[in-house]
Symmetry: C2
Subunit: 334 residues, 2 copies
């Protein structure tokens, strides 16, 4: 434990992100200051939302820059504590990013109980899972018997959204980019149907998969999928706007969907943008509920792993190309 | 009382509506059937939303057709009743449309108390006023000290939205299409500022008029105004989607605004479409509240009148061109 492997942002991508936009470097392990805690990264959560943070305009994550460690949520083990609330061995959720070690002020750490696999804390029990949980339940407000559609359905958030909606008694239709993923969502995760948005006949397939219309749409993508779903929404439908992954991997996002605001009026549709951070006061309860579901087998928290920090750029680029099924994590240490 | 003057739809307009799309005809006064009530029209409310009903695609108002009396909300006086709940002389709100007399099944009538000017029942106490009231308070949820922007601010709905927002302690900025209207909104109705959307510098003027951003937007227009407002919305802002007047007077509505859904996510904005009919259970209470405000002078219910049924087409065409200040009504009888 003398060197700290770090993955830095070398270039801010103009169009498609590439592995060469990152570089792997070595640095000394940072010594914790007074009130700080040195944490060893166990696993990194890789999410599409981080791509927005590399775009030219400032998002909620702040303006992008080069030469810094790539930002990410991590689950880490405390190695050395100079803060009263933590001791070596504690498990914490933190934002170490793509590096093996980081020192953090104690107030930025969330101590969590030891569980079977700590990597769940950057998946179903981390930002991805909480996003699925709060976005669906608080913004989507699904009721038993309703039809719920989720885009990027095989993704870290989407595969959990669909399963939570099933637990609430809904019919669940997933939109994803490959027939193979769609088949897995139905066979392994209990989705009622899936639609491949790359099909030329996507709109007709969506209609066929949703014979009673759509009551709740959990939108991870924006773009054409949102446009198509809008025309199938039922009266008093709810759209939880979670992300715009169709527009992340570019520096020139497209215009908005037809149907806004005309269809919103005619069908009394509610579109609600949200960020998971707004629900921080309820995180602990949500984690407890989700962990219960995982342990009973009611929820399958799919992990799609890469091994080692040097693979983090490839894990991210592949994710943006739609290569993942479930939560993309980079396993760094055990 | 032997002939019934009626204004029929002659043509469904392809682009701009014209006076010649209507024709004035005479017919016998309809005799009320059993359970029906013969009503004499006192005043007609003319609203931009009716233009949507003439478009090729079916809206919430149903598919358009020619040869029928133009649809409109009216306030009428009962002439003859063959229903137990009504007697001659009762004042009712009904949907007689552009004609002097109509027989209605009793269950389609809303009996209302006599007031100073019955025409308020197709204005501040009719669909227009209720739309302003419920859209602002239930979808916009304004809080004292917040900035509320309303488009078509000098219109039948908009001029009431702004005044109700002032009564709730908000800073109110109106968007309208003429400097003269803007000046009247400030001088006569207490708006804090107005912006003319026809100004080349509209976006800059909107920004200057809303130095603290926008918390609530009551959208009567959609289109470019919505697009501009979206970029000035504050975190956790609410957009009440009431209408799309920018897109009514055409058969080829434009696409949606940039910023949907990306800005909705980043700023956690809620867009909520609504129709006033969804709040029918609360109409009586709302009317009572609004009438109280009118009687104390807290609310100025502006009426912009045309006289006689033959003027109804001109009143509507002029309204669509932005000629009205306040509620456009056609006064038919006293």
């Amino acid at each position: 434990m003398t060197t700290n492997t770090r993955v830095l942002i070398r270039n801010l991508p103009k169009e498609k992100l590439a592995v060469t936009d990152y570089e792997v470097t070595e640095a000394p392990v940072p010594a914790p200051g007074n009130g700080e805690v040195l944490c060893q990264t166990l696993a990194i959560g890789v999410g599409a939302g981080a791509r927005a943070g590399l775009q030219g305009s400032a998002s909620y994550a702040g303006a992008p820059q080069t030469g810094i460690v790539m930002n990410a949520q991590t689950v880490s083990r405390v190695v050395e504590s100079r803060a009263p609330g933590f001791v070596a061995g504690d498990l914490v959720i933190c934002g170490s990013g793509w590096q093996a070690y980081a020192s953090h002020p104690e107030k930025t750490l969330t101590k969590v109980p030891a569980i079977e696999d700590p990597a769940h804390y950057v998946g179903a029990l981390g930002t991805n899972g909480l996003t699925a949980y709060f976005g669906l339940l608080r913004c989507g407000e699904p009721k038993a018997g309703e039809t719920v559609v989720v885009s990027a359905a095989a993704g870290s958030v989407g595969h959990l959204v669909g399963q939570i909606a099933k637990l609430k008694g809904c019919r669940v239709v997933g939109v994803c980019g490959s027939d193979e993923k769609g088949a897995r969502l139905v066979a392994d995760l209990g989705f009622d149907a899936t639609v491949n948005y790359k099909d030329g006949d996507f709109r007709a397939a969506l209609k066929a998969a949703c014979p009673d219309g759509i009551d709740v749409y959990f939108d991870n993508t924006g773009g054409d999928v949102l446009g198509a779903v809008l025309f199938r929404m039922n009266t008093f439908g709810r759209i939880a706007c979670c992300g715009v992954v169709s527009q992340y991997d570019t520096s020139n996002p497209a215009g908005g969907p037809r149907g806004v605001p005309g269809l919103l009026v005619n069908k009394r549709i509610r579109m609600q943008g949200f960020l998971v951070f707004d629900y921080v006061a309820d995180y602990a309860n949500a984690r407890e509920t989700m962990l219960g579901w995982i342990r009973t087998g009611a929820l399958r928290a799919e992990q799609d792993e890469y091994q080692g920090l040097a693979q983090a750029p490839a894990a991210f680029v592949d994710l943006l190309a739609g290569g993942n099924f479930g939560t993309r994590i980079v396993r760094v240490a055990r």
